[in-house]
Symmetry: C2
Subunit: 374 residues, 2 copies
């Protein structure tokens, strides 16, 4: 054969290793304009049944897949929302993301996660690297400055704060940490505990500070002396705190940990020290992550419907995105109120009485039934 001067475009070969087909290739093959192809593929605009079929056929033949990046550039909509979080460790964040992912998928959005932003500096870089890549941002920065900074940096991209602060007039979602802590203490007091210690979260973390404040306030109101041990929201730190408390001369008869995983750590430490939970020491955590119901004794805690909160956060952000410019009405700080879930770890020491938490509204434990895939 001689020179094949008019050879097929490279992309016609099945998987010859060449570049992927573009809308233009489809247009050529279908012998129509790119506009028509676009119209057909997006179902928008009037198209003849004939051209429609030719386009569809050509697209299939070329295994054409639209380039979402290019589409985003021209529509200035990425259908993607970014989630900035300090860490990706533990069940709390994974549950939150799971909830967001669920909502995102049903709303036609993608999720781009970016973690490990402890200091405002890193978070800032992460946020600006999101420009042109996302339609909105959800920022979980437990540090005050980071959040404010984030809000500023975002420019005009809608942003939802979940840093534990009140949002300062910006759309935000916050857990009623203070109220939850008060509930925890009141529950313990109501069930006969008096020497109630608190394992705090890391300093500078707004959530941790609010929980500590709630503990201190409730204890003061009850006229009880306080004991605070530092923790950092991790299992090991909870374990260490528990071990220390077990060694104290005046051992506490109850421990309120600022989150579940520290409570679990403390539970193990207490048990290793030969103490019984709840007989010798009652235990209560915060968050109600899945593991709370799997340890023995089951851990009493303050339930936040984590995945639901994540879902709701994402839905709200999408609403903000769709209302961009207009309804600046959403400047509210939505409050999630934790719900006391009484499990065996906080049963009264006096007797093995029934499941009454001592507070109306407390939820009796129902077998938690969720698991893990592999």
């Amino acid at each position: 054969m001689d020179f094949d001067a008019h050879g097929d475009p490279a992309h016609l070969r099945e998987d010859g290793g060449m570049k992927a087909a573009t809308i233009r290739d489809v247009a050529e093959r279908a012998e129509v304009s790119v506009a028509s192809v676009s119209r057909v593929l997006n179902g928008a605009g009037p198209v003849t049944e004939g051209t429609r079929n030719r386009v569809l056929e050509a697209a299939k033949a070329l295994q054409y897949v639209p380039h979402s990046g290019a589409r985003s550039l021209s529509t200035s909509k990425t259908q993607t929302i970014g989630v900035i979080l300090p860490d990706l460790y533990g069940e709390f964040f994974s549950e939150l993301i799971r909830g967001m992912d669920l909502a995102a998928r049903s709303l036609g959005y993608h999720l781009i996660v970016s973690s490990s932003h402890d200091d405002a500096e890193e978070a800032s870089a992460a946020i600006r690297s999101m420009r042109g890549r996302v339609d909105g941002l959800i920022v979980l920065s437990p540090h005050l400055d980071a959040a404010n900074l984030a809000a500023g940096l975002a420019g005009r991209t809608p942003i939802l704060l979940m840093n534990g602060g009140d949002g300062a007039g910006r759309p935000s979602i916050v857990v009623d940490n203070h109220g939850g802590a008060v509930q925890a203490v009141e529950h313990l007091v109501a069930t006969g505990r008096r020497r109630i210690a608190h394992i705090a979260g890391p300093a500078g973390n707004l959530e941790a500070e609010a929980r500590l404040a709630g503990y201190l306030e409730a204890m003061a109101r009850a006229g009880l002396p306080t004991t605070v041990v530092d923790g950092e929201f991790t299992q090991p730190s909870g374990h260490a705190a528990g071990r220390e408390l077990a060694r104290r001369e005046l051992r506490p008869d109850a421990v309120f940990a600022a989150n579940d995983i520290m409570a679990v750590g403390a539970m193990l430490a207490l048990q290793e020290a030969g103490l019984r939970v709840p007989e010798d020491v009652a235990l209560i955590g915060f968050d109600d992550v899945p593991i709370a119901s799997l340890v023995r004794p089951g851990l009493t805690t303050l339930r936040i419907h984590i995945a639901d909160t994540g879902r709701s956060a994402l839905e709200r952000l999408v609403r903000l995105i769709n209302a961009a410019g207009e309804a600046v009405a959403d400047t509210a700080c939505e409050v999630v109120r934790p719900e006391l879930v009484v499990r065996p770890s906080s049963q009264p020491a006096t007797s093995t009485q029934s499941n009454s938490g001592g507070r109306p509204g407390a939820t009796a434990e129902t077998p938690s039934l969720k698991g893990e895939n592999s």
Copy 2:
């Protein structure tokens, strides 16, 4: 004042609600060309100290942030990798993603996750919606067809399979599920167990099937009768399976669950039935998710360094991306070998002897020290 025909561009106003500044705005303000701005901001190409400063100044004044979407389009590099997974539930996936995120961040990549793709249909849609949005894909589809389909769909975008199959000549990472299961059974046999039951994962899941096959083979080799109960990789299913096994006439003296969370469920069920672990029934799981070391008794399991595996997977994919076109040498299936971690849940029934798992290479438990942030 009269008409301000030459008014400042809208974006000059601080945060007047107008669009964000583009590279062109910066160029105008600095009185240079966009090319120079690009050169300065990307540190590429020769630039005079003077223009450099003017550009930097203008950029700062305008709070200019490059539009990564546009950049991606022109460089055809998104610096983003997509992760397709069937679900986002449980510690396994969250640990995996954590590892990937760690690697991604240190390599300058973003992570876009997309879950809930049970059937091949959905996964397919998810994958094609990634085109032009990511530089590569990591696909965790435990179903055979889905994976093959994925590989085809990806076109020319690098893809790394982690579906439990051998990858069929494509780059992939797979856990030696069969070998792990054999280790589990041999460990139980070596410590005196004979009636060893297996709680299997969902049918159709390659990982689950390989673990089942390993169990069956090892049992046959040991000349022992098999007992298999169906599960679905979830805690509730493990609980149900455990309850059923506890009721059996010829109760097993050991249970090997196809993953940790089912083992935990089974453990709780056995204990609720009044059985002692490990005295009456030894228990062993698979994966070594964080919770395995937090339940009591601590769960013996086959450790996969989940986060490390995720990290390594991402690094390999990035390598594939950078080698695009050239080194098709990477067609290998990397195998991750699980490591037996002996914890109290599988101690010999005969006595409370020391931690020897009976197999060389078995890792004695060291206190697991990781926690959760809130």
